[in-house]
Amino acid sequence: MEPILAIVVGILYASAIYMMLRRSIVKLVIGLMLLSNAANLLIFAAAGVQRGAPPLIPIGAMQPEGLVADPLPQALILTAIVIAFGVLAFAVVLIHRAYEVVNADDLDKMKDTDT
């Protein structure tokens, strides 16, 4: 499955970067969202994936039964998802505010600091 995931990650990155290179600030935000999804999947895929073996310990046992998926990348991704949401919320409100002040959603019109 990993090669498929690798290709998916590559396409997600490409589309994220393409969107981040747009002049429209809304597209930039969409690019950021795609980028965070791409990064999460990258960590997930790079660690190797397994079907149907969540890192859980059955009741009464000290160790999980058999081989389970690597819990560490999952914990990292969990943190990343939440942080990405915080960043996104901030960015969305920021561009909204910037639009109100500058009256444009074109990044090329936001080069000055005095508006």
Binding site: G10, L12, S15, I17, M62, V82, H96
Partner: protein, 816 residues
């Protein structure tokens, strides 16, 4: 030992406070420091003269073979004595010279720091420590040349000196690292034992060239000599000390220090003899063209530095003796002459020797001392300068390479230096009294003490060479040569070739002095050629540097974020891609283990991401972003990460709501870029995506470190009492990380709240108090309209002048 020397830094730190108390008399107080060091160094003299050495071990960074070990042998002792001895008088002298200067305290801070750095340089046994002190002398020299920081010329000269010496310093560092690599140690004493190994190593020549680049720039060898005369913008005590007696000799010191280990090869002899001799000639020639007394002396210093380098290149036993004698003689007379030149400048108000004359009655002591020091510079018996010059001629006529060239250059240079000596030391005092900007009178005691003592030493070492001269020269020469050299100096060597050369140069020198004015005007046609010299090259290089900085800033940092992004991505792709291809081999896992529903989800993910990119409807984009998010969540759930799936679904739902709420207050998508730009961006995005795919493929196979997950899985229940291992990691193993995450979210929430809630421009009545928190106090509601009006006008202006028609339309639509 280390403490005694380095305590000078402490003294320097206290100096501003002390100078507030003692005013201009502080020079006498501070001079106690180098004076006591001089006494301490003198205490080592008998030991060193007997042929032994003293080592003071002190480990500094032992793990990197860097120590603060000090080492005293004939060479370092000779230098240490010159630095602390002359330094004593310079500190006293500066008190008189800069009397009443508002920045006297600052001057002494830098001067003391320099003195300590210079002592550290000559005493250090470790290459890296030596380099640190070396750079410290460059930096303090920079600050001292630019001491009159209100003068643009001084600042320019300071920068020039810094760039030339520090540029050379970089090469020197490279050379030192190579040397240590070849010899297997950073300790100079250990390296000098490995002479044969070093000389026969394949990297000998590049290493030598790197080290010489450092020493030649520092010691103002041709073609890097131009910074030294410009450094005369510094106050005279600085010129006398740094740019004549001590710092500029650091390069010569290092060459002499390394001579037993590196010297004697064909490359060494040729390079040093040639550059030394040419520098000697160029220095003397440029000196004779100058009329500024400090420039005259500066160029004659260049000449002396060239002579010393040449002698190191010749490398015979005689040359070693000549080197040590010439070094000592030069420091004594040049220090004295510089201080006297400063006294002349100070008391008459001019540095131009052509307007000075007849001062012998007004300044009798200065005249007498000048004469003695000048005679030593000219190499006239019975001064010590004569002894040194005779030795130099003896060494030159037995030079192993380029003999005739070296003899010719040495002879002409010495002729011209005799004229320079007469111009500097004789001309201002003889003939009729000429009018000067200030009414001349004798200099104060503080400014005469140094020259008197140094000139007396010149005379004494010459008349009574057995007194201390022989011993110092013997110790120095033995250390430079690397084997014991028996020295017994004497004034009279019998009728021989060197005496004849001295005699001829004296006659011709006197003739040049007599016809100096017409000689200078004859030389004037050469001016355009000299203007194209190495200094012009320096300016060209600086212009080129500015041009390059300007060019690369324009190309790489044009202020557009998207451009930065492209540059960063392409650099990333180039570097990472290269490493990937060069180091790793890609293995294709074509035996795919894929189920249909997984494939469908992957396809859905990719398709919706592409739709989000290319749709022209905002709703379409938001909806497809939702599909992307939920597909990722499904992926997580399918591949054993239920926690991630739950979080992703939650977050994705919130995200879609947020986007719907906010994005629809913004204008719709319009096409802002041309097809060409789109194609370029697709290209950049495409190759980055391909690289990311390859990276993932390779990381699946490569494991750099053993995973630490095993520990976490094993101890989750026994130690942390949790059955969901991911959760245990978050709240237990990496709890601090999670705490940080909570802070980040809280900050983001506060930012969002502030931006939504505090809205003075559109809703001033609701939040008066909150509004004033963000806006500066002067923008209060009554003035608000003006502010808004101005803003609109500004916006209109910028649109009219700068932007394209399509974006203008776009903005209007936004307004509507």
């Amino acid at each position: 030992m280390q403490f005694a020397v380095l305590s000078g830094f402490l003294l320097a730190a206290l100096t501003p406070w002390l100078s507030g108390i003692f005013q201009h008399r502080i020079g006498w107080l501070l001079a106690l420091f180098p004076a006591s060091l001089t006494v301490m160094f003198l205490g080592y003299l008998p030991e060193v003269m007997a042929g032994s050495t003293a080592v003071f071990e002190y480990a500094w960074i032992p793990g990197m073979d860097i120590s603060l070990t000090f080492f005293i042998d004939g060479l370092s002792l000779l230098f240490a004595l010159l630095i602390s001895g002359i330094g004593t008088f310079i500190l006293i002298y500066a008190g008189g010279y800069l009397q009443g200067h508002p920045d006297l305290g600052r001057f002494y801070v830098i001067m003391l720091s320099f003195m300590v750095s210079m002592l550290g340089l000559v005493l250090s046994d470790n290459l890296i420590t030596l380099f640190v002190f070396w750079e410290l002398t460059s930096i303090t020299s920079y600050m001292l040349i630019g001491f009159n920081h209100t003068s643009a010329d001084a600042r320019k000269a300071a920068l020039q000196g810094l760039i030339v010496t520090v540029g050379g310093g970089l090469a020197l560092l490279a050379g030192m690292v190579m040397l240590a690599g070849i010899g297997g140690s950073y300790s100079i004493q250990e390296l000098l034992q490995e002479g044969d190994l070093i000389r026969e190593h394949g990297l000998y020549l590049p290493m030598l060239l790197c080290i010489l680049a450092g020493t030649f720039t520092k010691s103002a060898q041709f073609p890097f000599h131009f910074w030294l005369p410009n450094a005369m913008a510094a106050p005279t005590p600085v010129s006398a000390y740094l740019h004549s007696a001590t710092m500029v000799k650091a390069g010569v010191y290092l060459m002499a220090r390394l001579h037993p280990g590196l010297g004697g090869t064909e490359a060494w002899i040729l390079i040093l003899s040639l550059f030394g001799a040419v520098t000697m000639f160029v220095g003397a020639f440029m000196a004779i063209r100058s009329t500024n007394i400090k420039k005259l002396l500066a160029y004659s210093t260049v000449m002396a530095l060239g002579t010393l380098t040449m002698l190191l290149g010749i490398g015979t036993e005689k040359a070693m003796m000549a080197f040590a004698a010439f070094l000592l003689a030069h420091s004594l007379y040049k220090g004295a002459l510089f201080m006297l030149a400063g006294a002349l400048d100070h008391e008459t108000g001019t540095k131009d020797v052509t307007v000075l004359g007849g001062l012998r009655r007004k300044m009798p002591v200065t005249a007498l001392v000048s004469l003695i020091a000048g005679l030593s510079l000219a190499g006239v018996p019975p001064l010590f300068g004569f002894v040194a010059k005779e030795l130099m001629f003896e060494a030159v006529i037995a030079a192993p390479a380029l003999r005739w060239l070296v003899i010719l250059l040495a002879l002409t240079a010495s002729m011209m230096v005799i004229a320079v000596a007469a111009i500097v030391a004789l001309k201002p005092f003889i003939g009729p009294l000429k009018a000067t900007p200030k009414a001349p009178h004798e200099a104060p005691l503080s400014m005469l003490a140094g020259p008197v003592v140094l000139a007396t030493l010149s005379l004494m070492f010459g008349l009574l060479p057995w007194f201390a001269g022989s011993a110092l020269v013997q110790a120095g020469a033995s250390a430079v040569g690397g084997y014991p050299i028996e020295v017994s100096l004497s004034l009279w060597h019998g009728f021989n070739l060197p005496l004849l050369m001295s005699f001829i140069s004296l006659l011709v020198g006197a003739a040049i002095y007599h016809y100096w004015d017409s000689f200078r005007s004859r030389l004037q046609p050469l001016d355009p050629m000299i203007a194209k010299g190495p200094e012009a090259g320096y300016f060209k290089m600086m212009d080129g540097l500015v041009w390059f900085a300007d060019w690369q800033t324009r190309i790489l940092q044009d202020g557009s974020m998207r451009h930065y992004l492209r540059v960063i991505l392409l650099t990333f792709v180039a570097l990472t891609g290269y490493t990937l291809i060069a180091r790793y081999e890609l293995q294709w896992h074509w035996s795919l283990d894929v189920q249909l529903h997984e494939l469908i989800i992957a396809f859905l993910l990719v398709a919706s991401a592409l739709v989000a990119c290319f749709t022209r409807s905002r709703l379409g984009a938001v909806a497809s972003m939702g599909v992307v998010g939920f597909s990722v969540a499904l992926m997580f759930i399918l591949f054993s990460a239920p926690d991630l799936g739950i979080t992703q679904i939650l977050v994705e739902t919130l995200t879609v709501i947020l986007l719907v709420l906010v994005l629809f207050r913004l204008p719709g998508f319009v096409s802002l870029s041309s097809p060409g730009e789109r194609f370029r961006d697709v290209l950049v995005a495409g190759i980055t995506g391909i690289l990311m795919t390859l990276l993932v493929m390779i990381t699946i196979d490569v494991q750099f470190f053993p995973s630490i997950s095993g520990y976490m899985i094993e101890n989750s229940q026994p130690l942390a009492y949790g059955r969901n291992i991911v959760n245990v990691i978050l709240v237990d193993y990496r709890a601090l990380d999670t705490l940080g995450e909570i802070f980040v979210l809280a900050l983001a929430a506060m930012g969002v709240y502030a931006m939504i809630k505090f809205h003075p421009e559109t809703d001033p009545g609701a939040n008066k108090l909150a509004g004033t928190l963000i806006l500066p106090p002067k923008v209060l509601p009554p003035q608000r309209k003006d502010v808004n009006g101005n803003q609109d006008l500004e916006l209109q202006d910028r649109m009219d002048t700068g932007d394209s028609a399509s974006s203008e339309d776009e903005t209007r639509r936004g307004d509507a």
